[in-house]
Symmetry: C3
Subunit: 139 residues, 3 copies
């Protein structure tokens, strides 16, 4: 069994954004030399997500508005977590809806995807450098 | 390390439905010959889910109504994604709540489940043929 | 390829609670002797979650209140599932938001975590003994 590990670093300027990281994950898979196995891609921060969906900007705006409805950023005083001096409680909630990680099959050296699947980094508390972990195991 | 791959195809008539796919996944596991490892089961479409919960029709109705409350299908014009000509933006949102995939332990050649765990395909934009991927790695 | 399996048992008195199980998972990893691979940690019950987030009590209260807003426990008659004699339909819904499982990379014999990642068991229908499965594969 082979294993391969890579960190992807991002610095998104705004508070919230979605970034297609599929090319970086494909590059990591090529570097790994693994042909059959599983690839784990996870946010290393608890106010961010990794998820699979469509690379369509209208949908991303829909996600943004929908998540703000489910877990609004303001007023920040509505969240007990923000009494610690943070203002990012909503980001911890949003990340639970969108998820921490994806596990993707690796087949014939490729990410084994359906027709529209793309991997996104979802940032909910940006403005600083943050990381995604890619861990691939297989043969 | 062994690996095994199988696609499960479904064509659900209505827009939304839940289908118990545990027998098909168990069959795939038996075909794989893998005794110890991990099984990934994921929707290959971004308007569908694979999740684990109870095979109880009342609960499935509760999910249906709850998801419609969280992310209503209509009016379709409320979603920017639907300006692309689609009417399935709500399906992309519902799928995030229910999840894309499950990873199940394989122990002694069986899906290593608690007492009530069953695997479901959740369709949120049906009426056409769609797929679930089963990828199993182990020995 | 090595594989390792362990059940963690909990008996939380109240209906809902969050419990940090990172030390138990780390202990299981040490017992496994696995240095590189993947660790699956999943609730074996369908009214409970395993998720990764922050060990901060204010945030846990925020989760508790937020989940009650998204999927209230009462009135229990609002859910069809509760016509089966159960009163835990809300727990099946809350568990979907928080997730069934996490998959964590294992690197150099350690859980490969970002700075604040901790693994929690989320109980939404407590008052009885319930289980979490840890399955680790690798070398």
């Amino acid at each position: 069994m082979k294993s391969y590990r890579k960190e992807l670093w991002f610095h998104l300027k705004g508070r919230r954004a979605f970034l297609n990281v599929t090319p970086e994950v494909e590059e990591a898979l090529a570097e790994s030399g693994i042909r059959e196995g599983l690839a784990l891609v996870n946010a290393m921060h608890i106010t961010a997500s990794v998820f699979i969906n469509d690379d369509e900007s209208g949908l991303h705006q829909d996600y943004e508005e929908w998540l703000e409805t489910l877990a609004p950023h303001a007023p920040t005083a509505r969240y007990r977590h923000n009494q610690t001096g943070e203002d990012n409680a909503d980001a911890h909630l949003k990340r639970q809806v969108m998820g921490r990680e994806v596990v993707v099959a690796v087949t014939n050296g490729r990410l084994d995807f359906g027709p529209w699947e793309q991997i996104f980094y979802g940032e909910f508390d940006g403005g600083r450098r943050k990381r995604v972990l890619v861990k691939i195991i297989g043969e």
